[in-house]
């Protein structure tokens, strides 16, 4: 096989994996949007906050250490213990459930029946509050997150794909990051679980019911509050998973909250209300931007075809694609068709 084709395939595979990570963030958006019609701007920050909390608990950090030290003149930073990853993840989940309860009890309870734009503004407020709060609680330094996930390229895959070069001497097998592979498996499991939950359980059905009509949901005996806390907790869980994956990949840092921006085009492609849509949208964006970059910056492909090459397309490709979707298919690939009777 020619070099360019092999490289193209590798780009494609890596694009798929990047797409899975986008999809993980997008999934959190879909959950909350489905159940409450709220576009949760804070989803990215929730992932950041979850990752910060996880690292904090694992490392035995004292929460609000800087605040305490400044006020009382003490010098405490660590409890001096290390919590095993599994236990720390459970603790973090408890924190996320608590956070969901607080958000619903103190914010959304007072915004029932308000315009979507007001709810959206409220989530922007939550995003900035949570970012500052996370900073105050755990400090703003970049943290290393190691929950025992494998890192680096997979030698096994490299060795076992060498034959695919079909005699090409420059080819030593495909290079795939183990962490990305784990993320893919996790994302697939997560999506299957969420779909089964939404379609086949009583709580899932109640969730869809609440998303559709509040009044009707109440009249069949569904507690709106319970469903909202449940959904935000689920979104918190998805945020935690996304936080772990991104955190393990590039460290827990505050720019993590910006990955939420990449989830926007994913949602526009997949549709705001579709769980499978979030995944497919993520994959399309991931593969699309990597392949487009590869093709447009390659002298032997774009150079030959168009007579010029362009670079750094990864920055805008997703947004332009989303723009096209907004014009031609506003509900996205899998979104519920907007039916309106007059």
């Amino acid at each position: 096989m020619p070099d360019q084709l092999i490289f193209g395939i590798e780009v494609l595979l890596n694009g798929l994996m990047a797409g899975v990570l986008y999809a993980l963030v997008a999934l959190g958006f879909v959950l909350i949007y489905k159940a409450s019609g709220i576009f949760n701007y804070a989803q990215g920050v929730m992932a950041l906050f979850a990752a910060l909390t996880l690292v904090g608990i694992m490392e035995g950090q004292v929460p609000f250490a800087h605040l305490i030290n400044t006020i009382f003149g003490t010098e405490i930073h660590h409890f001096g213990w290390h919590v095993p990853a599994v236990l720390a993840i459970l603790f973090t989940m408890v924190v996320m459930v608590l956070l969901s309860w607080i958000i619903n009890r103190f914010i959304f309870k007072y915004l029932v029946n308000q315009e979507p734009i007001m709810l959206f503004m409220a989530t922007i407020g939550i995003a900035y509050f949570l970012e500052g709060f996370g900073d105050m609680m755990w400090g703003s330094n970049i943290k290393k997150l190691d929950v025992g996930l494998p890192q680096g390229g997979s030698f096994w895959i490299e060795e076992n794909t060498q034959w695919m070069g079909l005699g090409n001497e420059n080819f030593y097998g495909f290079f795939l990051d183990q962490l990305d592979l784990v993320a893919t498996v996790v994302a697939i499991i997560l999506v299957i679980v969420l779909i089964v939950f939404a379609q086949y359980t009583k709580q899932g059905r109640a969730m869809r019911a609440v998303a559709d009509d509040h009044q009707a949901a109440l009249s069949v005996g569904i507690s709106l509050n319970f469903i909202w806390v449940m959904v935000w907790s689920l979104a918190g869980f998805v945020a935690l998973v996304a936080g772990i994956m991104w955190g393990a990949k590039s460290g827990v840092q505050f720019s993590l909250s910006l990955i939420a921006l990449k989830a926007l085009p994913v949602l526009m492609l997949g549709g705001f209300t579709s769980i499978p849509g979030a995944i497919v949208g993520g994959l399309i964006i991931g593969v699309g931007e990597k392949l487009f970059e590869f093709i447009m910056s390659s002298k032997s492909i774009a150079g030959e075809l168009f007579g010029f090459t362009i670079g750094a397309t990864e920055n805008w490709f997703a947004y332009v694609l989303a723009l096209l979707f907004l014009v031609f298919r506003p509900q996205g690939l899998f979104g519920e068709k907007i039916i309106e009777r007059v």
């Binding site: 359980t201 009583k202 109640a206 869809r208 019911a209 109440l218 009249s219 005996g221």
Partner: protein, 272 residues
């Protein structure tokens, strides 16, 4: 006068039981507007009870009081022999009081089957973890509930649209799906808010038949609000008449029909 313990037998031979629900001196105000003023009446087990009255008489407000959407400033609601504390609508629903809405409140994006299944929430007891693990009890429960739902769907003759998203259905069928959802809850009281509003004659006849059949087949106590005098008189055992938030008549259709205050409210009074 009837006493609470025993009931009566209707003209067509149905046995009506004791008092199931009683409204005592209900007053509901919105700011300075009095929507319901000092109204009392009872609902007996197995009967079809109607509230009629001109537009703005406070009929829907009364239904909303019963189903917990509104909370009256004064008065008491007695249900199954006990005074009911102020409750949220979902708690009322879980007590076995199901309702439909005047302007239809269905889950438009969900299929007819799923819509009707939501009516079973009261009966589904297994918790989140049992559901998540999808084993034993939860599975059995789902199957049992599905059976009841299929029966209701058959009963209301909506088998052919089971898998259709409700958003695509015409008005008359939506009304029927809403009734199915309420019925799936196997309610002790079924509240129908203008079940025939906006329907043509044929659809009205169908709906009337279903209301009678439901009462007959399951013995469900039904309370309905209706504009159409003719329909109400044919359907109901006893009728409450409201006007400007006050009760102006209460009794069998014949009694109500000959009540001068009712005639005045519906036909207007000559001011001479």
């Amino acid at each position: 006068m009837l006493d609470a313990a025993d009931g009566y037998v209707t003209e067509d031979g149905r046995k009506i039981g004791g008092v199931l629900m009683e409204m005592k001196n209900i007053t509901l105000r919105f700011g300075g507007v009095v929507a319901i003023k000092d109204i009392s009446f009872d609902v007996r087990e197995g009967e079809i009870r109607a509230i009629i009255g001109p537009n703005g008489a406070g009929k829907s407000s009364m239904l909303n009081v019963i189903s917990g959407f509104y909370h009256p400033q004064e008065g008491e609601v007695w249900y199954q022999g006990a005074k009911r504390p102020p409750m949220k609508p979902y708690q009322v629903a879980r007590q076995g009081i199901a309702r439909t809405f005047q302007n239809i409140a269905l889950f438009e994006g969900m299929s007819v089957l799923d819509n009707v299944m939501t009516g079973r929430i009261r009966q589904m007891k297994s918790g989140l973890f049992a559901q998540a693990l999808w084993k034993g009890k939860a599975e059995k429960e789902e199957v049992e509930n599905r059976e009841v739902v299929e029966k209701v769907i058959d009963f209301l003759e909506i088998q052919h649209i089971r898998k259709t998203p409700v958003g695509r259905l015409p008005y008359g069928l939506k009304k029927r799906v809403e009734l199915a959802r309420a019925l799936a809850a196997e309610p002790s009281i079924l509240l129908l808010d203008e079940p025939m509003a906006g329907m043509n004659v044929e659809e009205k006849e169908d709906m009337s038949r279903f209301v009678l059949d439901v009462n007959d087949e399951f013995g469900t106590t039904i309370m309905l609000i209706e504009h159409d005098m003719g329909v109400v008189m044919d359907l109901s055992d006893r009728v409450v008449v409201m006007d400007y938030g006050k009760k102006i008549g209460d009794g069998t259709p014949d009694e109500v029909r000959s009540n001068q205050a009712v005639i005045d409210a519906y036909l207007g009074v000559a001011h001479d």
